[in-house]
């Protein structure tokens, strides 16, 4: 069932088009993420859904009814802000109970529900504290509890984990997944952190310069990016300039300068002589010592130019025969080894036909 439909929404600020003819459908119960670099228009889009800004054109539909003229307080949505936006003059309990108070619940009902909510976010002893007496993670949990207390149809989250440190963020990500599953509330999550988007979402919309580039499940976004922007924005990817020399229903044949002809899986709407890039993820690239035997037809001799040790993995920079550098990622599964190759080593570089793809310019 479609809960929210954004239909051809455009928003301008002066000459600047913040949101450019965006259309998205969001299912009830979905964890939907809008991912994009800062300034791509994702927050503007969120503010229009929440009702703080009105679109210049287009419609926002809640279960088929246009809600453009409904003020924020009458939309059954709540927002969790990056700055938490807790009311500084109210206790934690009063903050969480605020939506209930506004909807006219009795003091007794409010107390019962707030006590339960405080337990759920493990802040039972903190009901009488003020927001400035809480840590970042605790404030975050208060903001979630406040946003979910009167079971909104939709929770909008604007980079809610942005202000937390790395370790806490990972814990909160796990909590968020549980929270969403338990509450059964539809989430629209705004972030610029791609790993967060991949880890949390059912579906992701990639946004760039006010436009939606691709809407898909995380694994499909990662493995089958629609264009160069998506490929580059999500994870790392090696790109080699290429042009199409043969098109068939099962594959494309590309010419890559200095490397010869390389076959990749077929793709819709590609014609002969199209220019673009051959794209391969670093973890899909295999490198092996020079002498070792390789079964695949596709292989090149490369030279190790550098490496970057992260701990669990090491990234190697390998120079290909056409003098371009690519990155290959190898897990450090052998104990005690920081790297498997030395700078200057000659290696055999290869990848499977299925793991590479052509992205047109």
């Amino acid at each position: 069932m479609i809960l929210i439909e954004i239909r051809n929404v455009t928003k301008r600020f002066g000459d600047f088009i913040a949101v450019d003819n965006v259309s998205i459908e969001i299912q009830a119960g979905e964890f939907f993420t809008i991912l994009g670099p800062s300034g791509c228009g994702k927050t503007t889009l969120l503010r229009m859904i929440a009702g703080f800004d009105a679109p210049d054109s287009g419609q926002i539909l809640l279960e088929g009814k246009d809600i453009i003229d409904v003020p924020p307080e009458r939309r059954p949505f709540h927002t969790v802000f990056q700055s938490y936006a807790l009311f500084p003059h109210m206790t934690v309990a009063d903050n969480i109970g605020f939506p209930l108070k506004m909807s006219g619940k009795t003091r007794h009902e409010i107390m019962t529900l707030v006590t339960k909510a405080l337990e759920e976010v493990e802040l039972s002893q903190f009901g009488n504290r003020y927001p400035h007496e809480l840590s970042g993670g605790q404030k975050q949990r208060v903001a979630f509890a406040r946003g979910l207390i009167n079971q909104p149809r939709l929770l909008l989250l604007d980079e809610p984990l942005g202000a937390l440190d790395e370790k806490l963020r990972e814990n909160m990500q796990r909590e968020l997944i549980n929270l969403q599953a338990e509450a059964g509330v539809t989430f629209i999550y705004i972030t610029h952190a791609q790993n967060e988007a991949l880890a949390l979402s059912h579906r992701i919309a990639i946004m760039n310069q006010g436009k939606i580039e691709q809407v898909d499940e995380p694994a499909r976004i990662y493995n089958f990016p629609m264009n160069r922007f998506v490929a580059d924005f999500i994870g790392k990817i090696n790109m080699l300039d290429a042009s199409v020399i043969e098109v068939s229903s099962s594959h494309l044949k590309l010419r890559v300068t200095g490397l010869g002809e390389i076959t990749v899986p077929a793709k819709a709407c590609i014609k002969i002589n199209d220019r673009g890039v051959l794209a391969v993820r670093p973890e899909q690239i295999r490198i092996a010592p020079e002498a070792s035997e390789m079964n695949t037809g596709l292989q090149f001799i490369g030279k190790i130019k550098g490496f970057f040790y992260i701990g669990d993995v090491t990234t190697y920079n390998v120079e290909l025969p056409n003098n371009t550098w690519i990155e290959a990622l190898l897990p450090n599964s052998e104990p005690g080894h920081a790297k498997l190759f030395e700078i200057g080593d000659t290696v055999v570089v290869s990848w499977s036909e299925q793991s590479a793809q052509f992205l047109p310019n």
Binding site: A50, P88, H132
Partner: protein, 260 residues
Amino acid sequence: MQRRMTLLWIASILVYTFLYIPLIIVVIFSFNNSKLNAEWVGFTLHWYQTLFHNHEMLLAARNSLIIAISASTLATLLGTMAGLAIHRYKLKILPILAFTPVAMPEILLGVSLLLFFLQVLNLTLGMFSIIIAHTTFCIGFVAIIVRARLQGMDDLIFEAARDLGATPWQTFYHITLPLIRPAIIAGALMSFTLSIDDFVITFFTKGVGEPILPIQIYTMIKVAITPEVNAVSTLLMLLTLTLIFVATRFDTSVLRSESK
């Protein structure tokens, strides 16, 4: 580091001494059993007794209180509204319009108000004209304080309130008002003290009728600085201190710049 701290202490003691010695002297000499403000003779409450029998002075004090309370109430109301508007609508002209009277030399304001009352409004000068004049120059102070308070706050909390189901009025009542309350109280206090001891503007807009406290005091020292003036000043000081005390009891963050 240690030496720096010592210097800092010495400097602050000097500054505070410079500020408070004259005030302390006024208080002491208001109890001095001598007609001259020269040397300490002995303790007396005589000057306070004279003061309370001075009909003209009591009338002036009553008038000044009425003016200060009315003007500060009006200025607080209008100034708070101005502060909110300046913060909300980012029109560059608004702060200029509201804050200019604050920076304007009082004498200029006095003269222009006088001309305005007499020639444009055809008003008879008196209590009413003084209240309007005082309200005019106090609005700016209240607006500045309220706006400064709002600037230090996360604007998102007002949107968050709307988002969580509060109408614009509920947002004002439950969120905005409690948050700017310290600023409103500080503004009201400031307006009151500015109004009660204002001389220049009062002088221009008072007309000939009612006696007003600062002008009454001035008339007294034109003859001679009597200890009676010291007594009035001491009482005025007491009133101000009480107000500050009450305000801080009412809300402890009035005199602190940070938000709770």
